[in-house]
């Protein structure tokens, strides 16, 4: 089910990006999209009987049945990159707000 949710979040994020002109809502939709992508990536490496990929004293050494650790490492990277882009996007949005007193791009129109 969570696999479906990941793809659904990606699609909902794209829908959000297409239907709004409000800067903050665009970034929110982008975050939903990124979240969906992250869930999707995690579910690529998921195996049913797998354990969290951490060696502990309880894990028998002859049967290391873990989920795929590589997608998790990728998502770790992607989350941080997403935060960086979000912070920068909001900073830019704030600059626009300072200039036009609104976050709505349809109000601002074409900036020439």
């Amino acid at each position: 089910m969570i696999q479906f949710a990941g793809i659904a979040l990606i699609l909902i994020g794209i829908y959000g990006l297409m239907t709004t002109k409000h800067m903050i809502k665009l970034i929110i939709a982008l975050n939903v999209l990124e979240l969906g992508a992250n869930i999707f990536i995690i579910s690529v490496g998921f195996v049913k009987n797998g354990l969290a990929p951490i060696l502990t004293a309880d894990v028998p050494s002859d049967l290391l049945n873990f989920v795929d650790p590589l997608p998790q490492a990728m998502v770790l990277t992607a989350i941080v990159i997403g935060f960086g882009a979000t912070a920068l996007g909001l900073a830019v949005a704030r600059k626009v707000y300072g200039k036009y007193q609104t976050y709505d791009l349809s109000v601002i129109g074409g900036e020439e």
């Binding site: 990536i41 997608p71 990728m74 960086g84 882009a85 996007g89 830019v92």
Partner: protein, 475 residues
């Protein structure tokens, strides 16, 4: 010791240092570019492992002729760009250092996920550079599009991993080619869509006209002469090593690229604003490079990318310098401006003639090679479209050259009275730098075959893929 990893690490190290010694940012920037050129000269070519684990377990760098040529071009243009941008480059010194590290990483890396990370580094750095235009809504537009593109690229890379179990770029097409068409379709589309934003491909390249069209002396050359060829080379690498096209995706990509090319040139023709004209021209040229890479003609594409990078850098330097000095970039306001700036006018003319592809310039050789190469693929209508569009390009470039040189109104004799009052556009050292690049372009135009021989080695290194869209779909 002389490992190509220095090309990435050195600018990064300088960037981290430059945060605390802000005054020396500019020095560190130029120093690292010069050291990079030395590393480029000294480092032996071949695969370089990072982290001590061989691929596919670890990340590796692929430093071949193709990477060498692209890196050399980027370092040289970056050096000139920072030199001419002067005070602006000082303010954005750290950002430019990170940008340089990211571009070098992007061109060197041999790992699909690492490529995604490097693309993100480059795009975030380019967002920041584009804010120096002061048009924040444009930056925002670009930021959203590029971030979505990044997510698509990431999804494509992950799906490639899911299907093939590897992320190594080199020879990935062989593994992907064994998969059924229906399976490889989605990751390939995602990877191409991810790159399409930065490549300014038709529907998603709309950011470029605003960012380029309002550029200043820093952003114009950085975007048109450094970022555009860098992403062009990355796309070439992807087409050569990763992307497997079937007739449907291949023709879709081809039509999108042709539409970008033709509509871009038409839009450029209709512009009355110098920077906007150059913006649309850049979009169109990017489309042409994509056509060539899609048809698997890397040699012609590399020639075209180099010609465009050199020509566009000169055009943007002169155009932004002049339009900043005269506070306008419209055709009316700049009429006859080269009467005041003859040297700039000559370099601008050389660059635009080479861009259009007039004989005796590198652009001519590039365009002839491109057209001849496409003829060999059997798709006769594409060269016809390209030639027809080249006429449009020639027409508007000539129109601009005439207007910028001639102070006369239509139907009157030229007189110097209508020339705008002289203002300083670029200072002496900047003019010397622009002239140097123009000289490089000019000399390349004199010995195109020699340049071609050097580049053909690079294109052979890049291309290991045999199957092309032309062979697959043209029959």
């Amino acid at each position: 010791m002389w490992s190509p990893v220095w090309l990435i690490v050195l600018p990064l190290l300088m960037a981290f240092i430059s945060v605390v010694i802000k005054k020396q940012q500019y020095l560190l920037l130029n120093l690292s570019i010069l050291l990079n050129l030395a590393v480029l000269y000294l480092a032996p070519q071949g695969m370089v492992i990072i982290g001590g684990f061989r691929p596919p377990f670890g990340i590796s760098l692929n430093f071949d002729r193709y990477a060498f040529i692209s890196l050399l071009l980027i370092q040289v243009l970056m050096l000139f760009a920072t030199f001419i941008a002067g005070p602006l480059a000082k303010k954005y010194g750290t950002v430019l250092l990170v940008l340089l590290a990211g571009i070098n990483g992007m061109l060197l890396t041999n790992d699909l996920f690492n490529l995604f990370v490097m693309i993100e580094v480059v795009s975030i750095a380019s967002f920041i550079i584009s804010t120096s235009n002061g048009k924040f809504t444009h930056t925002f537009h670009y930021l959203i599009l590029a971030s979505v593109g990044g997510v698509f690229f990431l999804l494509g890379a992950v799906m490639v991993y899911a299907y093939t179990g590897t992320l190594v770029v080199q020879g990935l097409f062989a593994t992907l080619g064994q998969l059924p068409n229906a399976i490889s379709l989605i990751p390939m589309m995602l990877i191409i869509l991810g790159l399409a934003v930065e490549l300014k491909l038709m529907p998603v390249g709309s950011w470029a006209k605003n960012i380029y069209g309002n550029s200043n002396v820093l952003t114009g050359p950085i975007f048109a002469a450094v970022l555009a060829p860098a992403f062009g080379f990355v796309f070439g690498r992807m087409m050569g090593e990763v992307v497997v096209l079937n007739p449907i995706t291949g023709y879709t990509l081809l039509f999108m690229a042709i539409a970008t090319f033709v509509l871009g040139e038409l839009a450029a023709y209709r512009q009355k604003d110098l920077l906007k004209t150059l913006a649309f021209s850049s979009i169109a040229q990017s489309g042409l490079a994509i056509i060539l890479f899609t048809l698997n003609l890397p040699f012609a594409a590399i020639l075209l990318l180099i010609n465009n990078a050199l020509a566009k850098s000169i055009l943007f330097w002169v155009a932004t310098g002049v339009s900043t000095a005269y506070e306008t970039s419209s055709m009316k306001g700049l009429r006859g401006v080269f009467y005041n700036h003859r040297i700039l006018g000559i370099t601008f003319s050389i660059a635009s003639l080479s861009l259009v592809g007039i004989p005796l310039f590198l652009g001519f050789y590039a365009k002839v090679t491109a057209v001849m190469a496409i003829f060999t693929t059997g798709l006769i209508w594409i060269p016809v479209v390209i030639l027809a569009t080249a006429i449009i390009e020639g027409a508007y470039m000539m129109k601009w050259l005439l207007q910028l040189w001639s102070p006369a109104k239509e139907g009157h004799l030229a007189s110097t009275e209508e020339v705008p009052e002289k203002r300083e556009a670029l200072n002496m050292t900047q003019i010397v730098a622009v002239c140097l690049v123009a000289l490089i372009l000019f000399v390349f135009g004199l010995v195109p075959q020699r340049v071609g021989r050097v580049l053909s080695v690079a294109s052979q290194a890049e291309i290991s893929q045999v199957e092309t869209v032309a062979e697959g779909g043209g029959q």
